[in-house]
Each structure stands twice: as C-alpha cells, then as structure tokens.
C-alpha cells in the first residue's frame, strides 16, 4: 500500500459509494415528492405556511428550540400488545406517525434529536395563541417544574394606549409572575408573533396522507 494513487482511488471509491447511497439516491427518491391534493376541498396536504409562520420558522431556528424539541411522531420497533398504539401516539403527540410528505418545503428541517421537551409535530392542535405567548414568557409558571428557558426577550413592555393591545399578556393567568407597573403592558414582539404563528401551524395530524392508510 505504498502508492499514493492506489490509496487515493480506494479512499475516493469508498466515499463515493456512501455519497451515492445516502445523498444522491434519497434525493432522487424523495426530491420529487409533491403535496397531496384533497379530492373534495382541493386543499393541499400539507398546507403551505403563511408568511408570518414562515418567518416564525427562522425564529425557531435562531433560538434553538430544536435542541429540546423534536418534530416527528415515531412508530415503534417493538411488538406492541393488541390494541396498543406506539408510545408517541399514546402520549398525545399526534394521531398518526409522520411521513416524508409531512415535511415538504421545510428548510431547514426540525426533525430534532432530543426530547428534553415534548414533541411539537402537532403542537398547533393543542394550545391557543394566548397560551403559547404566556408559556414562552414564563414556562415554569405555566407548567410547574418546566426547565424550558423563558423567552422574555421576545416580549416588550410598553405604555397602554387606549384599550390596550389585544394580544398583551394576561398576568392573571400567569401565577407567580410580577405584572408590569400600572399603565404598562407586556406585548409580544413581531418575532414572538411569528413564532407563535408557526407553532399554531404545526398540525400534521389534521390532514390525512395516502401513505398513512397502510
């Protein structure tokens, strides 16, 4: 093994094989996937994200939600007893497992590798926008014992004008957190609104895919 050229050819070929197998072929197989069209309503499945939700994706990326939250409902490799569903579904994280088609258009992907917090593949089906804002502002006050970091920097304090901002935080629902002084309110920044729009759009169980029928 003393010729550099031999060495190089070997190094090249071994790597090319994996590159073809794990990059090129999956791309060929899945790259052409299209959203499914609902036969009755004509709606796209998965639906396209709104502009605000699209921007919310970037907020999600920039603040590293992906390091604690996955977005995939898995099947189970175990032989489950009759009538039992895979644990992800049993936990209420989705009505069915997720498929490649569920992730169309996602750049970057947020499949995730860690579940310090619950799976978010269908979190839009579980909470309202107001709850999300309160939770992002003070997670530990909303879910006792939560270790999710507070995202207070996505909210700002401002003087109340007129009847106040509709989506200002309602401190009577955030136990144990000091409200701002009289005449002020805490409102979400644009970033927080986008982020919550994105979270509310995460509803992968709300439509059916043909591959889910199998």
């Amino acid at each position: 093994m003393n010729k550099l050229s031999t060495l190089f050819v070997g190094i090249f070929i071994t790597f090319v094989s994996a590159w073809l197998g794990l990059v090129v072929i999956p791309y060929i197989q899945l790259g052409g996937l299209k959203p499914e069209k609902d036969e009755i309503t004509g709606a796209l499945m998965p639906p396209a994200l709104s502009g605000s939700a699209q921007r919310g994706r970037l907020v999600y990326a920039a603040n590293g939600c992906v390091y604690c939250h996955s977005q995939q409902v898995r099947g189970s490799a175990r032989r489950l007893p009759e009538g039992e569903v895979p644990p992800d579904i049993a936990r209420g994280w989705g009505a069915r497992r997720t498929f490649p088609r569920d992730y169309l258009g996602e750049r970057p992907h947020f499949l995730g590798t860690m579940r310090t917090g619950p799976d978010l593949a269908n979190v839009g089906l579980r909470y309202t926008a107001d709850w999300q804002h309160r939770h992002l502002y003070a997670p530990a006050a909303i879910s006792r014992g939560s270790t999710m970091p507070p995202f207070r920097y996505l909210y700002k304090k401002q003087r109340i004008v007129g009847a106040g901002t509709p989506d200002a935080l309602d401190f009577s629902l955030i136990p144990g957190v000091e409200p701002p002084e009289e005449g002020y309110e805490i409102v979400p920044t644009e970033q927080a609104r986008d982020l919550v729009a994105y979270l509310l759009a995460l509803r992968r169980s709300s439509y059916d895919l043909p591959e889910a029928a199998e």
């Binding site: 003393n2 550099l4 060495l7 190089f8 070997g10 190094i11 071994t14 790597f15 094989s17 590159w19 197998g21 794990l22 990059v23 999956p26 791309y27 197989q29 899945l30 996937l33 999600y60 990326a61 920039a62 603040n63 590293g64 992906v66 390091y67 604690c68 996955s70 995939q72 898995r74 099947g75 189970s76 490799a77 644990p87 497992r97 997720t98 498929f99 490649p100 569920d102 992730y103 169309l104 258009g105 996602e106 970057p108 992907h109 499949l111 995730g112 590798t113 860690m114 579940r115 619950p118 006792r144 014992g145 939560s146 270790t147 999710m148 970091p149 507070p150 995202f151 207070r152 920097y153």
Partner: protein, 517 residues
C-alpha cells in the same frame, strides 16, 4: 541540518547512510520546522477549548436551572445567552474551534515527521490557521446573535462556513505539496488516515453547505443529509486523525512496532467503507424511507470490524508496556483515548439497532455517546499528542509534572462521571418515554399500566443533569491546569531540553541524569 544535506539524504534513501546523531539532528530539524504553524494551531485551539468548556458549563447549568444567566445586569433579558444559542455555540466552538484546530496542528506535525521533510510553505499554514480562527469566531458570534442556520452541526452562518472552507482548501493544498515532496519509502498507516481525512472532510462540508444551505433540499431529505454529515464529521474527520495519532504515538512512545500491520490495513479499509454509511441510524423510526435506516444499521453493525481490529492491534502493541502508563504522560492520554474509541464505537453499534435506538434516541444518552467519542476519545488523544509534540517544538520541557497529573485525573474522572450521568439519565428517560418503565405495573383492571407523565420524566432527569454540571466543573479544572502548564512552557519556565530528541532517554545530558537519579 542544512538544506543541502537534507537533499543528499533525500537522494540517498539508504537507511544506513546516516549515523544516529545525524538522524536525531534530522528529526529535530523537522520538529523545529513545525514550530510556527503548530504553535498557531495549538495556541488558538487552547483558547477555544477554554471558551468551549465555559459555554458547556453554562449550557449544562441551564438545563436544570433554567433561570440561570437569563438576564444580564444592565442589559436585562437578552437572547444572547439563551440555552438554544449557548448550546450550539458550545458545540461549534469545541468541534471547529478546539478539536479541528488541534487536529490540524497534529496533522502538520505528523505529516512532517512521516513524510520526513521539513515543513515548507509555512505561510500557507499560518494563513490557513488565521482564516480558520476567523471563521470560527465569526460563526460563533453569528450563532450567539441569532443568525444560526438552524441545522445541527452546521449552525454557523454561511459567511463563516465560506471562510472555513477557504482555510481548509489552503490546508489541503499544503498537504498535497507535502505528500508530493515526501521522502521515498513506505507510506505509514497514519498517513493513510490523514490523507483520507483531508480529502473526505472538504467534500462532506462542501456538499452539505450546498445541499442544506445554499441550494437547500426539502424536509426529510435534509434530515438524511444532515445526519450523513454530522456522523461523518466524527467518522471521517476526527476518527481518522485520532487513530493516526494513536498509530504513530503508541509505537513511538513504547518503542515497539505496531503488533500487526496487516490488521491496521484491514481496519483502515473497513472504516472507510462502513463508517461513511452510518448516518441514517439517527433517524430510526423517523419519517424517512426504511431502507436508508436499514442500510445504516447494517453499516453500523459492520463497524465491529474496524473497531475490533484497531482495539486488538493497539492492545497487543501495548502488551508488556503497560507499566509505561505510570511514567509517560503522552501514553496515558493516548491509551485512555484508544480505549475510549473502542468503548464509543461499541456503544454506538449497540445504539444503532431499532429496538435499542427507540429507547436511547431523543434522550441524554445520545449526548453522552457523542461525548465518549469527542471527549474521552478524541480530545484525550489530542491532549496526549500535544504532550508529546510541544516539547519537541519549543525545545523546552513541560514545567510541571504535577499539573499534568491534575490535568489527567480531572479530565479522566470528570469525563467518566459525565458519561455515567448522561447514560444513566438517558436510559431512565428513554425507558420511561417509551412506556417500558411504567409508573404502575399493568394489572387486571388497567392492562397497559400507568405510564409516567412527561413532567415526571423531566423531573427524573434533573439529578443526573446536576451531576453532569459538577463533572463539567471538574473537567474545567483539568483544562485550566493544562492551560497553565502550556503558558508557563511558552514563557520558558521549567527544564530546558538539552538534546534534540529525548525525554527520558539515557542521553548525553548529565544534568537530566543527575536529576532523575
């Protein structure tokens, strides 16, 4: 040695033509020629190591005490320090800042020694080193300021990636020039690994930059390519360089040739063939075609071949020399690293199967596994290499044996405790998450039992995470000891090295002899 005599010996590869003294002088000259570039790489990597460790402790603390460092005095609440930015900043600092920079430094030295030529074109290396550090700095700042790309292991904004890639291209050009000028003779196994790593990494990095960030593909394919990359950074960049170091230093320090060169060949090619296929096992049960996962699981299982061959080979080389662990700092770190490599790989194989992966995936166990690989294996290997290389670069002895011992014991104990904490916590978390470990066992009335709620599972991980933070502090103490020793050495404290090779040689140094006697 003068350039002329270097040329002469290049023309005359006959091994017997040089006297021992000439040999030693030749080697010393080669070592000295690495001095500037290696010091650039090692010095800056030390800085990133410290910073990375601090970021690690902050991130780790935030996981059990979420209000820790959320607000800054005067600034109030800032995004800069949120967990979701500190964690990727830590990862990128230690991967690109510490480990890669140290690896490049070790590569330079190994290449010079194994090609048996003095380092030429030092300016290329220094430029590459400066650019590399600039890239890491820009990238880290970008992550902290919220410009992360959001793709794990590739969070650095594209601008930083571009700088890093340029720097890497310069390194490759230099490496090719070195290879072209090497002295005729065998290509030693370490060189294959380095050659492979220097070729594989830019391809990987360039490929994912294009496919994930510049012309991004969508959804699941992103996931596949993402993990193909992230796993291969370990497998085809850090592992080869770590093994190259072990294959050179273990024989060199013990003074015994590798036990079986045949095994080393088998190990190299099976690693090249199988490791590159492993990435898909990060998506077991996920939304990707099942064949990708199956192929990756097979490849992961096949990793048993390179791992066992390397382990056997190193063990048999070490056999009969284990007493040297007491006296040689390099060997301590390198052997510790080599043993961790076996552990990390066997653990990795065991985690790849669908059944085990269902439990360990999405838990702290995986984080623990990557620390076995990156810390207990690779980082310890780099420490060992630096203990060997530095005195030869600067012609100066390490100032304090005690600091070396503190460094070893703090990092070894800290590392092992961290792994145990993460593995234990991860298994508990995993078993509870998939409802195998139930709160109440199944009964007649309640046939599937009562699973733990998510918040209960979360609470269960907290004690483990506390232990992990403590171990991080211990590791930090070890790193500080190393840093002090490093700086003192550069400040020329401690013993001067009196002969060009040496350390523990029954050499011509009367002073050393008197001291050791």
């Amino acid at each position: 040695m003068s350039p002329i005599s270097a040329q002469q010996s290049a023309l005359n590869p006959d091994a017997d033509s040089l006297t021992p003294a000439q040999r030693m002088a030749e080697r010393a000259a080669i070592d000295r020629s690495c001095r500037t570039p290696c010091l650039v790489f090692f010095g800056t990597s030390m800085f990133w190591l410290m910073l990375g460790t601090i970021l690690a402790i902050i991130a780790s603390t935030k996981l059990h005490t979420p209000e820790f460092m959320v607000s800054l005095p005067f600034f109030g609440d800032v995004g800069l320090l949120t967990f979701g930015r500190i964690r990727p900043a830590h990862l990128n600092t230690v991967i690109y800042g510490w480990a890669s920079t140290a690896a490049l430094g070790v590569c330079v030295w190994l290449m010079a020694r194994l090609c048996r030529v003095q380092v030429m074109n030092t300016w290329i290396l220094v430029t590459a080193g400066a650019l590399w550090n600039l890239g890491v700095f820009v990238g880290m700042l970008g992550i902290l300021l919220g410009w992360s790309t959001g793709v794990e292991w590739l969070e650095m904004p594209t601008q930083a990636a571009f700088i890093l890639f340029t720097s890497y291209a310069l390194m490759s050009v230099w490496a090719i020039l070195m290879f072209a000028n090497r002295k005729p003779g065998h290509i030693f196994v370490s060189q294959w690994y380095i050659f492979g790593a220097l070729f594989w990494f830019p391809w990987l990095y360039g490929c994912v930059q294009i496919l994930l960030l510049l012309q991004p593909v969508e959804g699941s394919v992103q996931g596949i390519i993402n993990w193909w990359f992230a796993h291969n950074v370990l497998g085809l960049w850090f592992t080869p360089i770590g093994l190259a170091t072990a294959y050179y230093l273990i024989p060199k320090v013990t003074g015994k040739p590798i036990h079986s060169y045949y095994l080393s060949i088998l190990g190299f090619w099976s690693l090249a063939l199988f490791y590159s296929w492993n990435g898909g096992h990060h998506l077991v049960n996920g939304p990707v075609p099942a064949w990708i996962i199956s192929v990756s699981i097979v490849a992961s299982a096949m990793m048993i071949i390179p791992v066992v061959t390397v382990a056997i080979n190193h063990h048999l080389t070490m056999k009969g020399s284990f007493h040297l662990l007491k006296t040689s700092p390099t060997l301590r770190f390198v052997v510790f690293g080599a043993m961790s490599y076996t552990l990390a790989s066997l653990q990795g194989i065991s985690m790849a199967f669908r059944i085990s992966n269902e439990v360990t995936h999405f838990t702290h166990y995986t984080i623990g596994h990557s620390h076995v690989g990156m810390y207990l294996f690779f980082t310890m290997m780099m420490f060992g290499a630096m203990y060997y290389i530095m005195p030869r670069l600067v012609g100066w002895e390490w100032p304090s044996a005690r600091l070396i011992k503190i460094h070893f014991w703090c990092t070894a104990v800290g590392g092992v405790v961290m792994i145990i904490a993460l593995a234990g916590g991860g298994i508990e978390q995993g078993l509870k998450l998939v409802n195998i470990w139930l709160k109440e066992a199944p009964t007649e009335a309640n046939p599937s039992g009562t699973p733990y709620s998510f918040m209960e599972i979360l609470a269960g991980t907290l004690p483990w995470l506390w232990v992990r933070t403590m171990s991080g502090i211990l590791i930090f103490i070890g790193h500080v000891a190393f840093g002090i020793n490093f700086v003192l050495m550069l400040l020329r404290r401690g013993e001067r090295r009196l002969t060009p090779t040496l350390l523990g040689e029954k050499s011509s140094s009367p002073k050393l002899e008197a001291v050791t006697a």
